[in-house]
């Protein structure tokens, strides 16, 4: 095992990796930008070195400086976390060339999966299902009609040169295809100077379901079931859970096998995630993320494993000793991403100093966070403050536990999306597990900013009482007035309470 690891990241994921290092007896080396001198990952690491000014491009993305720090501090390996340099093939290569171990797949694997059309082609060859259709231009409406009948309606006509929804048409039934073809082609011609179209199966409001995989240097690849990640905003996941409420053991086996084939097709090493779109019992390859995911803890909780520890083990050359058939998900886990965004103002990023922090605790609650009281949340980095994760025997119990944990949590100083999560937990479609990637668009009322009447009343009473208390104190210094000198408002309230008993 490694003696020391440099963590080339910040925030909650850096803290997560450092925690694994400490538990495994590995010396942890943090890096930080000038904006992060007081960040939690710096406080938790054994060693920490500054790599540059606040902008990521001058610090967390400066792989040359990061390598210099790694060499200077005597690191054996570099863990990239997610984001920043995690999926840059050239970084993985540079780490190898410097004689250190990159905790993740090879530069070739990262490059192959990073090119999305190349990845699709490889997956098709490996027998991983992709959305049925063609990437070659269609000759005419008749050809389109024949192909559409073959793959099944509804279909989506797309401009080959396309983007931004122009030259795009959903066709529900065979009779509509000629008119739709001509309209889409005209639109594409006008927008891109190229009227050629292609066609694929239209997935209306699919789910996003992904499979966790792990590969070692001996060609063993395991999967750890699925995560349901349909609750998203602009492709940014907000809530994840494992297992998915709609995946049967048979489907899990089929999706797991497909994900393992996908990983084997690129000689996968380390932790990775194969993302699928899921609709009506069918699943289609979307993309593969060649790194640890933000939402990895839900998988850890239901499978009772430590994915970061496994990453370190396979990176250090150990073989995976777990048996696929012995892996079973136990209970249900849910994660809410807690971001510094105001859900009532279009998820506008919020900045400020965290001046009061109370984290939930108690049975089945896990907090993977990157914040501390006094920390300044700025605009240089991702607004993710941490992840609140719960584990319980059933989905119903997990949702109740999440409500309880969200209610315990206090983060003051920045607006957070906690109230949004709280509302989702109460929403019926979510409770039934009836979700899709269109969930937010279908439930705009979750973000309408209407405060609950009981909350408003509590706030109004508290404000009036503290104001009266404030004025009462002032009156002590003045002449007596109304015979109510020195009556502090809260005691006055307390009297009412006592009187009633």
């Amino acid at each position: 095992m490694f003696e020391s690891v440099l963590v080339a990241n910040r925030g909650e994921i850096a803290v997560r990796v450092i925690r694994a290092c400490r538990e495994m007896g590995i010396r942890s080396i943090a890096i930080f930008s000038e904006a992060d001198r007081r960040a939690l990952h710096v406080l938790e690491a054994d060693e920490a070195y500054c790599v540059g000014p606040p902008p990521s491009s001058e610090s967390y993305l400066r792989w040359d400086r990061i390598l210099e720090v790694a060499r200077g501090a005597g690191a054996d390996a570099i863990h990239p976390g997610y984001g920043f340099l995690a999926e840059r093939a050239h970084f993985s290569k540079a780490v190898q060339e410097a004689g250190l171990v990159f905790v993740g797949p090879s530069p070739e694997t990262i490059a192959a999966m990073g090119d999305k059309t190349e990845a699709r082609r490889r997956m098709q060859r490996a027998g991983v299902p992709i959305v049925p259709g063609t990437t070659d231009p269609l000759a005419d409406p008749q050809g389109a009609g024949e192909l559409a009948r073959e793959i099944g309606f509804p279909v989506l006509l797309k401009a080959s040169a396309g983007g931004g929804g122009k030259g795009m048409r959903v066709v529900e039934k065979p009779g509509d295809i000629t008119r739709a073809f001509e309209a889409a082609s005209r639109e594409a011609q006008a927008a891109f100077g190229d009227g050629s179209l292609y066609l694929e199966r239209f997935l209306d409001a699919p789910r996003h379901i992904e499979i966790q995989v792990m590969g070692d240097q001996f060609g063993n690849v395991l999967h750890f079931g699925e995560r349901e990640c349909s609750i998203q905003r602009r492709h940014q996941k907000l809530i994840e859970e494992a297992p998915s409420p709609v995946i049967t053991p048979e489907l899990r086996k089929a999706m797991g096998a497909a994900a393992v084939r996908a990983a084997e097709a690129v000689s996968y090493l380390g932790a990775g995630t194969v993302e699928f779109l899921f609709k009506d019992g069918e699943f289609f390859f979307l993309e593969m993320n060649t790194r640890l995911q933000v939402e990895h803890p839900v998988t850890e909780l239901v499978y009772g494993i430590d994915l970061v520890e496994l990453q370190f083990r396979v990176a250090a050359g150990e073989a995976l000793t777990l048996e696929q058939d012995s892996l079973r998900a136990l209970g249900h886990a849910v994660e809410c991403r807690i971001t510094a965004e105001d859900p009532y103002r279009g998820f506008l990023p919020s900045t400020g100093r965290i001046d009061y922090l109370r984290l939930p605790a108690g049975p089945g609650v896990r907090w993977d966070g990157g914040i501390i009281s006094g920390f300044e949340v700025g605009l240089n980095y991702d607004p993710l403050l941490g992840k609140l994760i719960v584990h319980a025997p059933s989905r119903t119990a997990a949702l109740r536990r999440m409500v309880r944990a969200l209610d315990e949590m206090v983060i003051r100083g920045v607006e957070t999306c906690v109230p949004f999560h709280r509302r989702v937990m109460d929403e019926e479609d979510f409770q039934r597990g009836s979700v899709s990637i269109r969930y937010l668009e279908d439930h705009p009322d979750l973000m309408d900013g209407e405060e609950d009447e009981s909350i408003l009343r509590a706030a109004a009473v508290a404000a009036a009482l503290v104001e009266e208390e404030e004025q009462g104190r002032l009156r002590l210094d003045l002449a007596p007035q109304d015979g109510r000198v020195g009556f502090s408002a809260w005691r006055l309230g307390g009297r009412a309470f006592m009187g009633r008993r």
């Binding site: 706030a459 109004a460 009473v461 009266e468 408002a489 009412a496």
Partner: protein, 177 residues
């Protein structure tokens, strides 16, 4: 004493007397306890327990944190309320309302011009920060007075971007309205 507490667009009437507390005309048992030396208050309202963080921002101005939300409350007692009504200042204070930048960033697009009538939710200015475009929307109805920024301009937090003409009916909405 009767208080008028403005939170967002709502004005709630709270009466504190020796006999107890009355909110919006309803009697309710209230007990506010202070966690000594902190901003934490434990409120029992009709038996329901609330944990509230309070911060004094100025005379009658309080910031309250409860149930995951930060709320701004302006508390006026009935005398100050009457005086403000007489002087025509309204609950929200005088002067035109303004759209301020909620964070430093780059103005991508200004979607309104002087004299435009805007409705709640209408896009006003798009500001880029954290590599994300954020559309700032009108919180209430009004007419655009002055536009103080243009596309391509960088702005500081709280910088005024768009001013609105003072509404004719002052009693309707607070400063957050």
């Amino acid at each position: 004493m009767r208080y008028f507490v403005t939170i967002g667009t709502r004005v709630l009437e709270v009466e504190l007397g020796p006999q107890g507390v009355r909110v919006e005309g309803e009697d309710v048992v209230a007990d506010l306890a202070e966690m000594d030396g902190t901003e934490v208050r434990a409120l029992l309202l009709g038996g329901k327990s609330h944990r509230i963080l309070v911060g004094r921002e100025g005379p009658g101005d309080w910031s309250l944190y409860l149930s995951g939300r930060r709320l701004q409350a302006r508390v006026l007692d009935e005398r100050r309320q009457a005086i403000q009504k007489l002087t025509g200042m309204g609950l929200g204070g005088g002067g035109p309302k303004a759209l301020r930048a909620p964070m430093p960033g780059l103005v991508i697009k200004v979607e309104v011009k002087e004299g435009d009538q805007v409705v709640p939710g209408q896009g006003l200015v798009i500001v880029e920060a954290m590599k994300m475009e954020n559309e700032l929307r009108a919180e209430g109805e009004g007419r655009v007075g002055r536009v103080l920024v243009a596309a391509g301009q960088t702005v500081e937090k709280d910088q005024v971007l768009v001013e609105f003409e003072a509404p004719e009916d002052h009693t309707e909405k607070g400063p957050e309205g």
